[in-house]
Point group: D2
Chain length 388, copies 4
């Protein structure tokens, strides 16, 4: 039997980090559809993130992306966040949008380009110092499009060298979260294509280097919860970039494509102790709301993570262990499915009530008038986007 | 034994259509890297296409994309092409880059948006009338990102209705080439996701409606040559959009990712009579040269198609048939592999010589000074691109 | 608002066909793990199927596989079924286990092998006459393992010729269900690899030829519900072979790998009128219970189909249509998800009660003592299996 | 410029290990097609392997599989091999065909089953002592079919514990080669599913533990040469199990499905120093010749590896490095493609001549009469197979 009070207590402490860029415009290579009311600067992104936290209660931090969120005064930005009940989260680097990065950044064959990329990464740590962020999240678009284009192995050497320099720079309470990605924008070989590569680099760097699992960055058919369990077992799971996919890195709302998979991932997090504060797992969203309203989509995504977590917490682990040890295939599966098949929406509504949050975040947000207000006020200027 | 003279004769008649947009800038959602010398208008694109034809001898037509290649006077454009030894090829429609198309074009739930998209398609036929193009190539980005977002079946009804209106408008010697695509930019359901859907619609429309196979638009593991053979057998193969891929619709140079697959596809074309003029198959490229020099990449792509074709023509079909009928698995495979393993580059060089073309297209282009000239001259203005 | 009484009424009329072979042993190429109590002949398989029907109330028919279920007297078998509350369902042919079929059956290069295969198919229709079965289910393992091994197109010609002969033989009230499969056991080209190929053949054959969708027979990422919607729209969906998969044709219990996908499929069935009796859709299981107890696994599978159906029926279609027409992406998705997120187990239990079936099929089966009884009694002889 | 003499010298030292089981019968779960002349015991398998070595000159070792190749006297078997110019190669364990292994072997929840599996692995080391084999090749079919069936993480603990005990037992000059596999026969979670998992275990075990790359054991789209380069860079590439695939673990002849991929893999081996004797890389085949003649298929496979190696050695590495450093995408790709597009069959024929081997292995084998002789002589008894 699961202890409902404990489940609720765990849900009340949950924290999902929303990404500043998800509040801005995004799209595919074919088209970016602009939306009314989209923020024009990091301050407005924080306003929107504050709404998500206000209506969900479990989205207290916001990830920044440099240079998209570059400001003069990061301390002021941090203070602006704080005043809205938020904290600044991971600092995400960008080494893929300068013309110099056509053939890569810290894996580029040219030392001058590598230097430029490294300087950007070091600047990101400076920003962490200013914002108080603990996490430097590194995703590299580095790779090659054609066989032979560059030396796969030499690129690993350059990668290792670059990461080591950045690692060295990390201060007290700071860590490096290394993300891997199966493909895109590189179409032949990606320099950090899988968890094994990220893990191998982290191992050599030291304990402050950990792997980030972006749920959209795997080959078809990959068992992501296995990777989660393995990285937790190795003490190298730094966090998640949540989103969902039917095909490639579609960046849809987490839980929209395969809610059962999200539940299984969350179950392995629970199983592996990943919800304990000391585990230090960052639960981040990384999504693109290309055609749907952005703030409601982010609220919905946070709710999806919550509901999957609730189901994972509801698994009767004693009964599961009994069936597993007994080799009862159907029985063990049934214990897991019982939790998954439970409608947890009432439970989560109750948790919200206990936290002083409206039980119906989407309805409450819709009634709040925020969408209308920003559409009316945020006119003129340049809407935030990826700048591709 | 294969008749070398016949192989050469076939190769001399080969015609690969290059796409105007491949001469312009392209990229991923993360970044478009601009290149020096990229055309700023359709006229300059034709200049570049003329170079590709000059140095390969087998790229006599150029596909246009509307609105990217919209001009005041299409007859003048056709004449401009003709003066450079080119003809205008397929007219490609674009129903994915207007803000109105956020939720689709001719499958959109709103009749007004459908009307707008249809009007564009009809305008494309007007342009065909003006340019003398025979092919209207239709690719629809239509689809949905989330389950439930729209009614999958109603969208098929709208698609059928729209296609019928366009089909009706086709004149003498004009046809409709319907392209399918597995996914992107729609991430849940695409309205023409596979050859079966395209085929079913073409069947109902009539004989002027045919299917286009884009080699990058399939699910992982799909046997493309089977589809080619099947469509040829059904008399519904209208043409190809050639490119290559390791992962999704990577749009790399054709033959760069899996040259053996390209050979197998070409073999089925040969086998099915697809090289005969009366087959009317359009052999088109549809590629994105995101990081490599564009004109040389297109020359290389044309050469790759040529070489794969040469190998396909070299298959000893009598020996193959004998081994197949005898159930000699290894023997039959060996006949095919013998042709594939042949180095046909000397043969193709000879063909070029016989056609009065430099045997080494890439070297000749490099020596021609064209790249330097356009880099110097095409300064200012707006480089062509997708306008995403 | 959905009409709960109507939902329950629909669920009471649901009928899932279980496959005789799922009661027997199965495995992978590496190992078949035998289980105690497995049937030794078709009669014992029917006994087990009767138990599944007894405890679920919605599994009234059993598919046979010839020659695995060959008996002297099919009328006696039909009567034996009837006495247990069952009817005999689809007759499944087998043209892949005779040594003559190494290179194919009705697509084989040798006319004598084709004749042999055709005679088997015609025999299956004879059996249908004897059993009163209406469906001839055809799955062909035909294909090639190596490029060049056989002529892809000629194999299509042979396939068309063979199917036509069998179609000709079909009597009143009989139809042909043609199954497609992405790959396995052929590893290069399969002769009916996708729905398009099956559909094209059915179109030519006539109205009695329809396509079967086996949920495990698609390329990675394929949107199966789109195919379902399309075939229903075309009037060519004959039925399902339900199972689930994470990778290839894993043949796990339906709903075990991706319950959300099963729900979406069922929703398209509902949407397309596929639950109406006149639609004539056969809802069949086709699974392998390699490591789990067979009868409980089949009961569970039937329950999974029921629950997915219940959720599909609960979709508020008026609200959905409103949101779709309004272009409300998140709203429309939310309507669908509301139904999916509902815990329908209580509803289904009630339906069982109304049908006079125990609300808890698995618990009731476990208590029945049947498993112990067959393990004790079915000793000696040869357990049923695939005979591979 | 490449040094042809050096290329030839390298090719003369090449050694491909053939697997004893490839000489026996194999098939899919649907059917094993028996072939005439197939060996009935390990001695006859060695006879066939000797033929492959006789006609290729580069297949001097044979991998054994226990228990399929269990004999009374392994020293006698080694001597029998030696008399035929062969040596015994890797010892392959089998922990998937005993009824006890239904839910796994060294990862099984039951300690008694784990003990049994471990005892088998230790017995394999005993056999290595007797045969003089240096490599223990471990592939585990362990995994689960259903979510929840067993505890993913606990299975890793058991795996680590089991491997450690076996590692401890390894003697001087012995090593452990750990194979990973994406899926099959487990269909939900496999306990060693990717190179990262194998690598992580090997790291903890010590320097004698290395990873085996089976070219058929990856997710769709995986860049295998990247893994090869990475493992070589880490000093953890133990060897290859060569075969080829279009879909899953098809086990077709290496080089038959994607010869360009095989070339790229071989290039990374060359690049990473993997052909040096001190690298200790084992180049093994692991294939199933389900429908084609077995000995010719193995000869052909060895030839395919040779030809891919020849092409890899022909890459003009200086020119490649120049183009790579210059960021010349097309130029670098062209250098690689030049080698790939070369017809190396004449070169390889010359190498054979220099080694005193017939330049045409398949023709020479066909003329030798061996196939006819074994078909006539190996009558009665039980043909070797997987015993599934």
């Amino acid at each position: 039997m699961t202890d409902l009070a404990a489940v609720k207590a765990a849900l009340r402490t949950q924290a999902v980090e929303t990404p500043s860029w998800a509040y801005g415009n995004s799209g595919t290579r074919f088209k970016v559809f602009a939306q009314a009311g989209v923020p024009r600067d990091p301050w407005e992104k924080l306003q929107d993130a504050a709404k998500v936290h206000e209506f969900t209660g479990v989205a207290p931090t916001v990830a920044l992306h440099i240079p998209w969120d570059r400001v003069e005064d990061y301390a002021a930005l941090a203070k602006y966040a704080e005043e809205r009940g938020l904290r600044l989260g991971a600092i995400n680097s960008n080494t893929f949008q300068d013309d110099d990065y056509r053939l890569g950044s810290i894996c580029h064959p040219d030392a001058a380009v590598r230097r430029k990329a490294l300087d950007h990464l070091l600047e990101c740590v400076d920003i962490m110092d200013a914002t108080g962020s603990g996490d430097l999240k590194l995703w590299f678009a580095d790779g090659t499009n054609y066989p032979g284009q560059d030396d796969i192995r030499a690129r690993q050497d350059r990668l290792a060298e670059g990461l080591a320099e950045v690692y060295e720079r990390l201060g007290e309470g700071q860590r490096m979260l290394l993300e891997y990605k199966f493909f895109e924008p590189a179409f032949y070989a990606t320099d950090v294509p899988d968890w094994g590569t990220a893990y191998a680099h982290c191992l050599k760097l030291g304990p402050k280097a950990q792997v980030v699992v972006d749920t959209g960055h795997h080959a078809p058919g990959t068992n992501i919860e296995f990777i989660v369990a393995t990285l937790l077992r190795e003490g190298r799971l730094g966090g998640f970039d949540f989103n969902s996919r039917f095909y490639a890195d579609d960046d849809l709302m987490v839980g929209a494509a395969d809610p059962f998979q999200l539940f299984r991932i969350m179950y392995e997090v629970v199983r592996g102790g990943g919800f304990a504060a000391e585990a230090g797992i960052a639960f981040m969203l990384d999504q693109c709301h290309n055609i749907e309203a952005k703030i409601p989509a982010i609220i919905r995504s946070v709710m999806n993570v919550q509901e999957a977590t609730a189901k994972a917490l509801l698994v009767d682990r004693a009964a599961l262990a009994d069936a597993q040890v007994a080799g009862d295939v159907l029985g063990a599966n049934a214990v897991l499915m019982d939790a998954y098949n439970t409608d947890v929406r009432t439970l989560v509504r109750e948790v919200r009530g206990e936290m002083g949050v409206d039980p119906e975040p989407l309805a409450a947000y819709a009634l709040s008038g925020w969408a209308e207000r920003i559409a009316a006020e945020r006119v003129g200027g340049q809407q935030a986007g990826w700048g591709a």
